[in-house]
């Protein structure tokens, strides 16, 4: 009897996660994929490969770099290097999310499999929503969201590839702008630790600064430099008794 109840609740939490497909971030991401589709049509990438890429690479910035690198005639090794360097940021993102998702009993292989579904939108969404999910069900909730989001975008890409039309400029501009604005509001809204506010501010300043100084590694340096600075500042200003606890 109890087992049946348990299974029902696993399915229910998976579906709760899957329902995230109707959220604002999922909609914004799907619109970005429409934009990616028009890039691949112009580049002459066959639709089967675009669908394959969407499922297996998932992170949108990595795919844009992959496509533009191949177009510029880069070799396999050069392309691998370009995509690898741009994707280092996934590591701290995943490392920050895993302690929120797992319980002591969550198997490592499951986390390794589910980590594939983490990219910037899923990360922002999960960091915000997972707090309201009881801990034993968080992994299931995330699986429901992540798997549904990837599957939906694979289908979307397959369909949209044949009907890509360009949006009017104002609409295209506003769609593009939704991404940074949504990320800002969501990170601020979901922050439960003071260090997150400081890191957000530090990254906003450090990003353009390092883009100006060392454009090849700007995001990575801004993250490690700005993040460490924010962390140090927060430790320094933290009230004594809290730090001692």
């Amino acid at each position: 009897m109890e087992r049946v109840e348990d299974e029902r609740s696993v399915l229910a939490w998976f579906l709760t996660g899957a329902r995230g497909i109707f959220s604002l971030p999922a909609m914004i991401l799907m619109l970005s994929f429409v934009g990616f589709c028009s890039l691949t049509v112009q580049a002459g990438v066959p639709p089967e490969q675009v669908v394959f890429m969407t499922g297996i690479v998932w992170a949108l910035p990595a795919k844009v770099i992959l496509v533009s690198s191949v177009l510029s005639g880069a070799s396999l090794a050069t392309t691998f290097l370009a995509v690898t360097l741009s994707s280092v940021r996934l590591m701290p993102m995943v490392a920050a999310l895993v302690p929120e998702l797992r319980t002591a009993k969550t198997p490592t292989w499951l986390l390794l499999v589910l980590s594939h579904f983490i990219a910037i939108t899923a990360w922002v969404f999960a960091m915000e929503r997972v707090q309201k999910v009881p801990r034993p069900h968080r992994v299931t909730f995330f699986a429901g969201f992540g798997i549904t989001l990837v599957a939906a975008n694979m289908m979307l890409v397959a369909i949209v590839y044949r009907l890509v039309t360009d949006f009017p400029p104002i609409v295209a501009g506003c769609l593009f702008f939704l991404t940074p604005v949504y990320f800002l509001a969501s990170i601020w809204n979901s922050a439960r630790h003071r260090v997150v506010y400081l890191a957000l501010a530090a990254g906003l300043v450090a990003g353009p600064l390092f883009y100006w100084l060392l454009p090849e590694f700007d995001i990575l340096l801004a993250g490690v430099g700005g993040g460490t600075l924010a962390w140090l500042a927060e430790r320094f200003w933290r009230p004594r008794r809290e730090a001692g606890a």
Partner: protein, 113 residues
Amino acid sequence: MWLEGWWAYVFIAIAGWLATDIWRWLGVLAGKRLREDSEALNWVRAVATALVAAVIAKLILYPNGVLEQSPLWLRLGAVALGAIAFFLARQIPAVGIATAIATLAAGLWWRGF
């Protein structure tokens, strides 16, 4: 010239899948060692947030596509007005997002986009 046949799939698997999932796997292995109340997790959280913030700043300052031709003051103004609305409305994300986008749309229209 785009890639053809089975080579395309091998290419995408190595330069796309392996190149991204390596970092996700390393993230899982590192994240598993982090205790939820630890100082190390606080640092990782700060670094991850700053990374995403740097991406946000780049999207706003150096956009591609249509917005490349839009003035910087318009993009910054839209974000600033969005932020003001967000805090006035007791930090409801939808209010901030809608204000920023409406400001941008009005500005683009006014500039003749």
